[in-house]
Symmetry: C2
Subunit: 349 residues, 2 copies
């Protein structure tokens, strides 16, 4: 019909659609942004023309004119941990519903990388930012604040943090776990944990354990503390090392489920009975944890919920609301099969 490609081989522009539909570019724009403001007949004509030539508003031009990019950024340590993958997946879905696309970047636990990533995203004009953890270089938050865009920190919820947070109190959570083991009667407890340097969440976890033990007059002996990359393999080698110390712990608290899975598998491979000979706890409740034999006692964190809440918070900010501070999520202790009372030799009466 009234359809003419202007410069073939080149994506169509609004003017082309306007010409085809015999209207102005303003009307074309309105059809796509405020459809109710244009007469139905014309609207159809424009829509038809646009469809015929496969036109859709060009994001860069639109972003420039509108001064909105409809892009938000997510900055996470790595996708190789199902915890962060789940969070990102949920955020992506929540944003997609509102026509917002997600820019992703992984800083691999490297603080300089994180600063760099954030600045790159800022340059891309992200309208909001979600960042895992708050242990970042000051300039990271400074550059965000200089742009006056909303942001949220996930997985942390330190009381008194200056940032909007969606997460839980890591210290409290590990206090709970440690308390659980103490209540079962354990007194010699080992810890296998991720590197604490530059990771506020992990540092808080170790802190929580120490606090709980201290309340009973106990502590973590240096030889019972193993710090290293969160991997099943590190869990394995750590439990082996810890079991070779004296006194031998009756329980091991792991900084996350990957470590705990390793500890559990290795302990069993060594011929130990879990939990009789050794209690083991994890954190995160990853998919495999409930499947093992015995199933892992751990704390469940709803990562999809974290992603969703982070997205909702940012979305609200973008709508101009000033959402109230969010209460922390509370991870729940999942008592499964790897933690029980220690099998201590009967004490002389």
């Amino acid at each position: 019909m009234s359809e003419r490609e202007p410069k073939p081989g080149r994506p169509p522009r609004a003017v082309d659609v306007a010409a085809a539909a015999e209207v102005s570019t303003a009307t074309v724009s309105r059809v796509f942004n405020n459809p109710e403001k244009v007469a139905p007949a014309i609207r159809e004509r424009v829509l038809a023309a646009a469809k015929a030539m496969g036109w859709m508003p060009h994001a860069a031009g639109s972003a420039l004119a509108r001064r909105r990019s409809s892009i938000v950024g997510a900055v996470i340590p790595t996708l190789d941990n199902e915890v962060f993958a789940a969070q990102v997946g949920a955020m992506q879905a929540a944003f997609a519903e509102r026509g917002i696309t997600l820019l992703l970047s992984c800083f691999n636990y490297n603080q300089d990388q994180a600063v760099h990533d954030v600045q790159a995203m800022l340059a891309r004009g992200v309208e909001a930012l979600a960042i895992v953890g708050e242990a970042h270089r000051p300039e990271l938050f400074a550059s965000i604040q200089a742009r006056h865009i909303p942001y949220v920190v996930t997985y942390s919820h330190r009381p008194g943090s200056p940032h909007a947070c969606v997460g839980f109190d890591n210290r409290q959570a590990f206090h709970t776990i440690a308390r659980h083991l103490l209540d079962l009667g354990h007194e010699t407890i080992g810890v296998i944990i991720q590197p604490t340097a530059g990771n506020d969440r992990v540092a808080a976890r170790l802190d929580g354990v120490r606090a709980a033990l201290a309340e009973r007059g106990l502590g973590v002996r240096p030889q019972h503390l193993r710090e290293g990359e969160w991997s099943i393999d590190f869990g394995r080698q750590s439990v082996r090392a810890i079991l070779a110390t004296d006194p031998v712990p009756t329980a091991v608290i792991c900084g996350n489920d990957y470590l705990a899975v390793g500890a559990l598998l290795e302990a069993r491979a060594m011929g130990l009975s879990v939990p009789r000979d050794l209690s083991i706890t994890g954190f995160d409740d990853i998919a495999i944890s409930r499947q093992l034999d015995p199933p892992l006692t751990t704390m469940h964190v709803d990562n999809h919920e974290i992603g969703r809440r982070a997205a909702d918070y940012l979305l609200a900010c973008l709508e101009g609301e000033r959402p109230a501070a969010m209460p922390p999520l509370v991870p729940t202790l999942i008592r499964r099969g790897t933690a029980a009372a220690p099998d201590l030799p009967a004490r002389p009466a």
Copy 2:
């Protein structure tokens, strides 16, 4: 110094930097895009001014003028499978090195969603696209081709596919697995697999198994074929169901490692000895597979490599090259502990 914020509370623009450095905006632009074309002294002045006011080129404006968005899109089923998470992580890293940011979207195995996601990305001006699988609605590829942007299909490598692919031959891979079991002496083989509808990769896998069996005059009995969501739980319930059939298979081929892990754990929970009573194979070689007891026999796929190659291919296209078709990756059979010769009753002589 000669530093003046023009309209405070508003991000600085190139003109502001230009004014502060007492040069033109053209020079400011050059400093950031062709530094070698500007005198060192002036360059420093501009850099200093930019730094002082925290300016960096605005992506939307730049994209418009340059006619390049420096954005590419990745379209995957879900991040909840570590296979895709790894691929995306590797792509993101490879692109980041070249100053390209990654737009992510998950279609959750829903073809309509995939079409929608791709079109949204196109509207965002992605310069290239990586898509998992080739079983998509025709309009998905049509809209990409209409834009004349490079794209690549990952995880598929069907001989004769019209698309550039980075992946492996799923049919061939499962032919290899099935052959392995046949060579061990299995004749009654069950299959637990993801939904084949709308998933070319899975359909090809089942095909490969059938072909290998057919070559020995065998087949997959209907009661031995279980098709459902890839989850550890579905693996568990399926192995239970298959073991209740007659004749009882001596081996089960699983469509991926999640299913196989479920099958293995459930078989053991039922008191079976693996592999003596039942051989089990997986596919993907996810992190947990080698850790189980016995460790899972599976095929290893280098997902990071897939992501990296996909990124390299697209990058090359963006440089104007016309890269040759890539040879398929070849997953390698990892013989671990879950596949062995069947423990058949001795046949009468």
